[in-house]
Symmetry: D2
Subunit: 256 residues, 4 copies
């Protein structure tokens, strides 16, 4: 399948140089390892190796992971391991409708839109308009704009939507939104909270218990990367040892 | 939305008693905490609390996690944390087509079918027919049968499909299938391998390097659960400390 | 060096059957794998394999680890990994004098006495006399009685000793003892606290900051065991994932 | 106890500026935060805060940890958590005699000498003379020279000592020395091996099994540091995720 204008592609030079772009005639991608003209990508295929002004690069079909690697990041971003588990354990599936706050750099927003498919819907709240500009740009690059509704509002003032399949909170005081999430959710729908400190875990968890959420879990995922070499395989020495905690539960409609 | 015959529902008594069923008139679910008649579920809603012969249970909309909790397990099963990350990092999305081996108890099979949506397709290979019976039953319960093709074949003898979006291997010697996965994959498609020992990590990784896979990673996810209590929050004391390693890479079509 | 009455020996049948004893004529060790008469140990050597009434056992020179494995445990016991790090990072050496509370089963008490040598001194406080009986018995078995002073007192009411090299606290509210530990310590001496919850970490750490401790660290050690088999080496599947947190700092005598 | 010439002291400016020195009249310690004259330390006490040319520093009694922080490091150094556990689980105590290879920067050497006390003995082998110069300097600074014998020899050619309490190996192919360690050890004495890769774990462990070592363990310690702040306590984000594996066992004198 030959690439054409408007297609999205990941330019992979090496593990540390990954660039995501939408092919636009006349544009040029500049990197510290040389440049490439968008025009030269037309007619190529995913998987191809292409020449750059110096050296070469692979063309790949964009994965969510690439978005992460290339993301313009005005704020701290969620990690793929956490986003993967948050989505998986939320019970959502293609076609569902979800609410999220805050938008941040849009990495969770975009991941949700990606997995919810063409008929899915993500409504994302953030009080900072500049944040949402970045997220909007990333959504545009990935042709996911139609599935996302951006709201420049404070979710603490209320959730406009009702009967949603899941609510995702990645914000400073998520416990202040638990009652509102409860109201917005379909019965049995999941509330998924991400926080960096243990004190926030405690507050969020206890508030969810108060509001008839059941099957509540507070969990943390640690990712360990390995350096593989024949006869000398071992975990990498330095890495990320903490990102945050995930608290999740499901709405029940009658008290236990 | 009132439940009716043929609907699927999770019966949640407590965190250790989770049962998944398809409502069938005349049937009865027996547990060590009492029984419930399927007929009594008709007309109820997800989120409701219902009476059992003793005590009560919540009705929930089935999540993949519930499948895991209730799964009939003739073999060791993948964990949700691993399945979540394998799916996420494979780059697949609703409508894609994937190949998997072995079927095992079908937990990955079903998770893939769930996320790929109505237009998605999972082809799953296993040499053991009895394994697939369990997986078929689980797929039936969840109304996912249409999206899955079961093949009682040894994937080492070849992959019938071509142009697939991703290949998932959870089997003893995955390195023997790397070249076949390469051929079956679309350019830029992902191969995702799950193995329990470090020796298998080394062999799989090196074979993937040999076959022009790029952006190869060998990773391990550790999940830590927390016990939350006001003023006394801490990680749980005993738990699973090892499930397995995930090796993943993407097919390039020209040598670097 | 032939074993004689009064010597201590570890009877090692397998990793799960480890018994520590002081050779006493006429006594018998009974296990679910047969018995052995103390008299039969006399004249044997460490490292020897001896017959039991059924099967056989190795005689080993007792290690602190064996004490742990065989310890009579009326309370939850510290783990070797934590005790090792607590002792190491406390800066103590043979001949030093330390204070500890609570005694508990005496595992830390005994470990301290072991490393402090013949001229070292451990003063251990506990409000429960019955606890100390167990610890005393263990100290007797190991010939360490002379190095330990047991006090059946509440350390919250004050520390009788002064100019001690280190203070170790493994008790519910260690922050209530921080000021007293500060007074009892030599300048530059270490306070080492062990607690199971994150809330206790926060309180202990902040109280130590208030009392002019410097180089304060809050740390946690995770131990992972591996199952080694040729070509199939991997971490063990199930294990202890949390024991507790270690907070440590050193007394400075002037405010920063 | 007033400090005098020849005493050792840790100059603690902050957690990242820790300097260990032996007070020598006329000398000066230069740092990027100002300098201090050794003469100005005389008459001060451990715990004191002293003026530097700019700012100030605490004087502390040197701990092994400080040695680590200030160590001149020509090679990769063992970490305190690993050294602590290696020493603890080796069963050694004040007065014992141990063999070690290779010397490296001498951090384990010095730690052993510290815990073995005045009557203890460490014999350390290394093929690189320059390595040992660094270790000798560090031993001199800490007044531990008398307890350590440096041998500029390849331990693979044999261990001169016999009847030693423990052998410690931190070198590329420890399995080649297992049989020699077995001979040098007292019955029941421990062999403790440190290696960075899983392949080395497998080889070392299997060789120890072959040579009648019992109670063999292959373990890994992970240290997690916490950032404590009132109401916002969490693990640190970035850190060391892998140092190495510890394999340990005890010599039995008859085959099982």
């Amino acid at each position: 399948m030959a690439l054409k204008e408007g297609d999205i592609v990941t330019i992979w030079i090496d593990s540390k140089r990954v660039f995501l772009l939408k092919i636009t005639k006349g544009k040029k991608l500049e990197t510290d390892k040389g440049y490439i003209l968008h025009d030269d990508l037309i007619g190529k295929e995913y998987g191809d190796l292409v020449k750059m002004s110096r050296g070469s690069a692979y063309l790949l079909k964009p994965f969510l992971e690439d978005i992460y690697l290339d993301l313009k990041r005005p704020s701290q971003v969620l990690y793929p391991k956490d986003v993967a588990y948050m989505i998986y354990s939320s019970g959502i599936k293609p076609g569902d409708k979800v609410v999220e706050a805050g938008t941040g750099s849009g990495f969770l927003t975009i991941s949700l839109a990606y997995f919810l498919g063409k008929e899915g819907k993500v409504v994302t709240y953030d009080i900072r308009k500049d944040m949402q500009e970045t997220a909007k740009y990333n959504a545009y690059i990935l042709n996911l704009t139609d599935r996302i509704e951006f709201k420049n509002k404070d979710i603490k003032n209320g959730i406009d939507e009702s009967d949603v399949d899941a609510v995702f909170l990645d914000m400073p005081c998520p416990w202040e939104v638990v009652s509102k999430a409860y109201e917005a959710l379909k019965p049995s729908g999941a509330l998924i909270v991400f926080v960096p400190t243990v004190n926030q875990v405690e507050k969020s968890y206890l508030e969810m218990e108060k509001y008839n959420f059941i099957e509540i879990h507070a969990e943390e995922l640690l990712l360990r990367e390995y350096k593989v070499k024949e006869g000398a395989t071992r975990p990498k020495n330095i890495g990320v040892v903490h990102t945050g905690f995930i608290i999740r539960g499901r709405k029940s409609i009658k008290p236990l």
